[in-house]
Amino acid sequence: MSETVKNKIEEGSGTGPDSNTDKKSDVKIVAFLCNWCSYAGADAAGTSRLRQPENIRIIRLPCSGRVNPLFIIKAFNQGADGVLVSGCHPNDCHYSEGNFYARRRLEFLKEYLPFIGIDKRRFAYQWVSASEAQKWQNVVINFVKRIEDVQAK
């Protein structure tokens, strides 16, 4: 690996002031958020300056129904320690039905993961609407803590 590339990777993560946790934990969490509710909610949490751990890496999708369960498995294969999926509340989906399908698929995946050797606690799916900035903050803090507990074992 060339020197420039190596340096860039080492200095890359975690710029900015420290978050809630005093020491910087290095769990990597991937979050798939639906554009209309959860992404807006997370954005609202950001503009309201609600403090959260920085370990979440967000991927924006049009709807939680777009989440193919294989995305989650690929994320785990590529080194994610935890995966979070969040969408609109059932009955409030921007596309009417997307999150109903998502609920079925993601519940199936959640039950299946322990059978292939991935701890059930590493995956979670939530419903966070655009106005629930506070809820998003709580979800992130609690999920990161849960993953850190699982990693510590």
Binding site: M1, S2, T4, V5
Partner: protein, 377 residues
């Protein structure tokens, strides 16, 4: 067959142990618990035997009489092989300039030779077929030849062939040691050595203490004749005359006839037969890149895949499974005879064993030959 040396079973173990000290010995190992048979590095085998000593049942044994699940070609031609690394180096001062740096594949620092012990004659033939593909002509495959040039093949004849063996149909035999460096026959309670090539002379001459002195060569040769005769009676193919001189022409004429549709009705077009075949050599080359760095690697490919001949335009010359199977059989019984002078099927029968719907290449070839005779009548 002329007997040159004789070694008892007990001494064979010790001889292999001594050879393994300075070389890499591979032998066929049977895992009795998981019911698998495959070629394994001798050092790996010893480690597994050590680990399994706690369990009451014996788990790992050396067994050269059974066919291994995969042919030993993966020792020289691995399933996945890295060809090289590459990296794009950008200059911050000069954005237009991009340099590409290639890293060579790591050369394994092997001190000695690779020795394959316990090969069946059909597998040794298979490796010699691959030698022609990768090692002849003006373009040699260095990744294969680097491993192969320092290797020796020790082949043990088949005293008991299986119902799906047909090496004699394609010009081989259970005691064909033409392409082995050392040829052995299991007789009495040991092995008689009936061929030693020049490259392998030192394996014997530097380890004389393991080989029996004062052997009764005539008696052993008589035993060997009996074994050869009983083995010939057991070879499981039901017809004698594959017209080896004409098969290439017969196959050419079958292209375009509807006989291939009939033959492949039950084929499911998977890749199981090509992966276990000792002479299949097709591979896929892919580049994988993340950011500015990447790797080029090659991996086994199978001609039965529907995407095998898919072109960038979207056109596919072989969209049907009958065309792809026709290509596979022709590659073995037609095109490679023209290119390299040999039938590229060694009669090991692994494809027949492994096929989930029991496609039989012997039947396919026979149907083509019968069909041509009917057409000419």
């Amino acid at each position: 067959m002329r007997v040159i040396e004789y070694i008892s079973k007990e001494n064979t173990k010790n001889w292999l142990e001594k050879l393994d000290a300075k070389n890499d010995v591979f032998l066929p190992v049977q895992d009795l618990q998981e019911a698998r048979i495959g070629f394994l590095d001798y050092k790996e085998f010893k480690k597994l035997v050590q680990q399994s000593k706690e369990s009451p049942e014996k788990r790992y044994v050396i067994n050269h009489r059974e066919k291994t699940a995969l042919s030993p070609k993966y020792i020289f031609f691995p399933e996945t092989e890295k060809l090289f690394d590459f990296e794009y180096l950008k200059d911050i001062e000069n954005p237009e300039k991009v340099e590409l740096r290639l890293g060579a594949a790591e050369k394994t620092e092997s001190s000695g030779r690779i020795i394959l012990f316990g090969l069946k004659p059909c597998d040794a033939e298979g490796i010699s077929r691959l030698d022609r593909v990768f090692g002849e002509g003006d373009k040699k495959d260095n990744y294969y030849m680097e491993k192969r040039k320092n290797s020796l093949l020790i082949s043990i004849g088949c005293n008991t062939p299986f119902p799906d063996c047909f090496c004699t149909l394609v010009g081989g035999s259970p005691f064909n040691f033409e392409n082995a460096d050392i040829g052995m026959v299991e007789v009495n309670d040991g092995y008689a050595i009936v061929k030693i090539s020049d490259d392998a002379k030192d394996l014997i001459s530097e380890n004389r203490e393991y080989f029996d002195k004062d052997i009764d060569k005539t008696a052993i040769e008589e035993e060997i004749e009996k074994i050869i005769k009983s083995s010939a009676e057991k070879i499981g193919h039901t017809w004698e005359d594959l017209p080896r001189e004409e098969i290439s022409k017969i196959m050419d004429e079958s292209i375009g006839s509807g006989i291939w549709d009939q033959i492949t009705k039950k084929c499911i077009s998977c890749g199981a037969c090509t992966y276990v075949c000792p002479t299949c050599y097709c591979f896929n080359i892919r580049d994988e890149q993340k950011g500015l760095q990447g790797q080029r690697y090659r991996s086994w490919d199978y001609c039965m895949n529907s995407y095998y001949t898919l072109e960038a335009s979207g056109h596919n010359p072989r969209p049907d499974k009958s065309l792809r199977y026709r290509n596979k059989v022709n590659c073995k019984y037609n095109y490679n005879i023209k290119r390299h002078g040999h039938i590229y099927c060694v009669g090991c029968g692994r494809c027949i064993e492994v096929c989930p719907v029991s496609m039989d290449i012997r039947e396919a070839v026979k149907t083509v030959i019968d069909n041509r005779q009917q057409a000419s009548d």
